[in-house]
């Protein structure tokens, strides 16, 4: 995509099938990026024309009017007027309209033509229009508008070749030069321009054109009415909505697990290969424990992302998402969020990464940012191993009233605590940093359409590529930093001595003793690493929460992923950290008995455990979340804000729990 190649922009309203046409024209030769300085996504692709000429095709955000009211619409206007530096205008504009409803769709098209750019008008969804008994006189419309008009179906490919030819035709010589012809036409460019500033007049012009060229008026689609009658029914509507949401949640929470396990095993095997082939030393450790571990973390998110974006594309392309927002607007509105925030927040109970990436269906910037910032408060599945360890070790297996398990109750309380914190933060954000008038809700309820595989698969692919490129790189970089902190400086005398003893034991054939000494050496290495020193450095800050420096090491290393806390704690206490379940079981046994070397008092009391769980419920200990927020907001400002906010809240809440508990005389 060189800068010298010609640029063609696709413009149309949301639901005009513009993106399907874009997918049809570019196939896999497309990429998603951001317009500089804004969160608006820029989709560009390569398209080869019949003459062999390559052009750059730009899929502009859907817009209803050339009078911009959102960053998206501002981009459209800037590109059409050649005002944006990065996208210095378009050489040709392809205005895409939904042929099933010309009366509303031509309004925007007339405004586009009035900009004077060379243009082509595409009557998309022509099959659907014909099926509804609508006949459009394409020749008459061509004469009336003075630009080439083509009937196309992006879904079946009908008319797409002719569109390619039209895009290939030489421009600026009458044919294709919209402004020149429109000025000479019966309607006159002046009228078209006036229409852009006066909707009443614009629609009058459209009505006149439609009377001339559309031979049969559209009738309301009875099938759509019947489907809506069920899907937005007073009782069935919410029930169907909840069933669909439960399916999406269940699939990312549970169905992704087998694939994630396979990926995990694959990366573990890969680092095994590296260990076996490379000589032991810093390089082997960097590749096996730093880089491959980081890449494994990135890859392990892919199954969830693929599944979530499969459903998201299906729900969005079929038209259901608009109905979901219609049903949920009242409920979510009670906490100041739009109906579309429901699915991202629900997904965040599995993992905040897909949840945050799902917020792109929320149109208003402030609503989207609020949803992104509260998503990590939902108790994700990575917190579960930590909760399970601490609950198993410190919460007695008692039952209240004979049937309510105290352990289950504690877990439920932690989930509710996360939700309450999220709602409180949303409430505050909406009144402070993200204040602003409530965005206009008014939204189109598009006709139901059968999603195409092409669009669904391309959505999944584009989202995954974006995640890998933008968030994945940050995640790998941070995991290398974390690896470095946990590995260096190496060679502490205590560690060396333990390693030597382990070698001796291996040589003597005492396998059990050798394994114990190996674990002890690993523990010693970690305690004397930079991470260990950092643990000591931050101890004064976390002491008031009841945490010692060893917990501090756990908190630092769990920035890789929360569940890493469990294996890190196992290593610190000289336990085998290999399999998560074994590590958790042995930790559960030993933690209650761990005592402070100076005071002889237990380090872990039930109060410390509760304080630690509260900390985990609120703290932002997840580099992947930070990376993905950076990618979705296109700046470091919001991820840093989130990191500070969540960790300050976590510290404050744990402080209150621990100090409050001690004042009440609990241990």
């Amino acid at each position: 995509m060189s800068k010298t190649s010609e640029r063609v922009a696709l413009v149309g309203s949301p639901n005009s099938g513009k993106s399907s046409l874009f997918n049809r024209l570019t196939g896999l030769r497309q990429k998603v990026a951001n317009y500089p300085g804004v969160t608006v996504e820029k989709t560009v692709g390569d398209c080869v024309l019949p003459s062999g000429k390559r052009i750059e095709l730009l899929d502009l955000p859907g817009t209803y009017s050339m009078a911009p009211r959102s960053p998206d619409e501002q981009i459209v206007r800037d590109v059409l007027e050649g005002r944006r530096e990065s996208t210095d205008g378009a050489d040709l504009v392809v205005a895409v309209v939904d042929a099933t409803n010309l009366e509303r769709q031509l309004y925007l098209a007339l405004q586009i033509l009035s900009t004077g750019r060379p243009a082509i008008l595409v009557l998309n969804l022509i099959d659907a229009a014909e099926a509804e008994g609508i006949a459009i006189d394409v020749d008459a419309l061509t004469r009336r508008l003075g630009v080439p008009v083509l009937a196309v179906s992006a879904k079946t490919g009908r008319g797409v070749d002719r569109l390619r030819e039209a895009m290939d035709a030489p421009r600026g010589n009458g044919h294709g030069n919209g402004a020149a012809t429109a000025n000479g036409g019966a309607n006159g460019g002046a009228t078209l321009l006036a229409g852009a500033n006066d909707p009443a007049r614009g629609y009058k012009d459209v009505e006149a054109i439609v009377r001339e060229v559309v031979r049969r008026r559209p009738k309301p689609d009875p099938l759509r009415i019947r489907i809506d009658h069920v899907l937005t029914h007073r009782v069935f509507g919410p029930v169907i909505f909840l069933l669909l949401m439960a399916t999406v949640f269940q699939s990312i929470y549970a169905w992704a697990t087998p694939a994630m396990d396979v990926i995990d095993a694959g990366f573990t095997a890969l680092s095994g290969v590296v260990r076996a082939t490379l000589p032991a030393g810093p390089l082997q450790s960097l590749i096996a424990d730093g880089m491959i571990a980081g890449a494994g973390t990135v890859a392990s998110f892919l199954p969830q992302l693929v599944i979530l974006f499969f459903f998201l594309a299906l729900l969005e392309d079929s038209g259901y998402m608009a109905r979901a927002a219609f049903i949920m607007d009242r409920v979510m509105g009670a906490v100041g969020l739009p109906g579309r925030a429901f699915l991202p927040l629900l997904s965040s109970f599995a993992c905040a990464i897909p949840g945050i990436m799902a917020t792109r269906t929320i149109e208003s910037r402030n609503d989207r940012l609020t949803t992104i910032l509260i998503a990590p408060f939902m108790s994700c599945s990575a917190r579960l191993p930590v909760y399970a360890l601490l609950i198993g070790a410190f919460i007695p297996d008692k039952h209240l009233l004979g049937f309510v398990g105290l352990r289950g109750l504690t877990l439920l309380a932690l989930y509710l605590f996360g939700i309450a914190a999220a709602l409180a933060v949303a409430w505050v954000l909406k009144r402070t940093v993200l204040r602003g008038r409530r965005p206009l809700y008014v939204m189109e309820l598009p006709p139901y359409r059968v999603p195409t595989w092409r669009s669904v698969l391309l959505t999944i692919r584009n989202r995954c590529v974006l995640f890998l490129k933008r968030a994945g790189t940050v995640i790998v970089a941070v995991s290398i930093v974390l690896w470095f902190l946990a590995t260096y400086p190496s060679g502490h005398p205590e560690t060396r001595a333990l390693e030597a003893q382990a070698h001796a034991a291996t040589a003597a054939g005492a396998t059990a003793e050798a394994a114990r000494l190996d674990d002890a050496a690993a523990g010693s290495a970690l305690r004397h690493s930079f991470a260990g020193m950092l643990g000591q450095v931050i101890e004064p800050a976390i002491r008031p929460l009841g945490f010692d420096w060893k917990i501090g090491i756990g908190l630092i290393s769990s920035f890789a992923a929360r569940e890493v806390m469990v294996s890190t704690m196992a290593t610190i206490y000289n336990l085998e950290s290999g399999s998560g379940n074994d590590a958790s079981a042995s930790l559960r046994r030993i933690l209650p008995g761990v005592t402070d070397a100076r005071t002889g008092l237990p380090v872990y009391t039930p109060l410390v455990a509760v304080s630690l769980m509260v900390f985990f419920a609120l703290a932002c200990q997840c580099m992947s979340t930070v990376a993905v927020v950076r990618r979705e907001t296109n700046s470091w400002r919001w991820p840093i804000f989130m990191l500070v906010l969540m960790n300050v809240m976590a510290w404050g809440a744990s402080f209150l729990v621990y100090q409050g508990g001690r004042m009440l005389g609990w241990v």
Binding site: Y64, S65, A67, R69, N101, E103, R104, Y107, P199, A200, Y203, P218, P220, R224, D228, T232, H233, R234, V235, G237, P238, A322, A325, F326, I327, D329, R330, V331, G333, L440, Y441, V442, M443, E444, L445, P446, P447
Partner: protein, 83 residues
């Protein structure tokens, strides 16, 4: 808009499900009015109210053959007359 019988003046949020009304004018800031007019709700346009959402708000409309959903607080600012 001169009619022989005096039109009944209402806002869109008062229109019953299944009924039709004609837009007279839109209250509120220019931003809001312009958005709705861009969507086709220009004065004189007939609007059909299809249904209310399961929890009573928002409502579904048909304007120039397209279906829209709009909050009642927004519909309150659209003045209409009976058709």
């Amino acid at each position: 808009m001169i009619t022989i019988e005096t039109p009944v003046l209402n806002t869109l949020s008062m229109v019953a499900s299944g009924a039709r009304a004609r837009v007279l004018h839109i209250d509120g800031d220019e931003h809001f009015a312009r958005r709705l007019m861009d969507l086709g709700m220009t004065p004189g346009t007939e609007i059909a109210l299809v249904r209310r959402a399961p929890f009573g708000d928002p409502i579904e409309l048909v304007v120039r053959g397209s279906h829209f959903s709009i909050r009642r607080s927004e519909a309150d600012r659209i003045h209409v007359e009976d058709v």
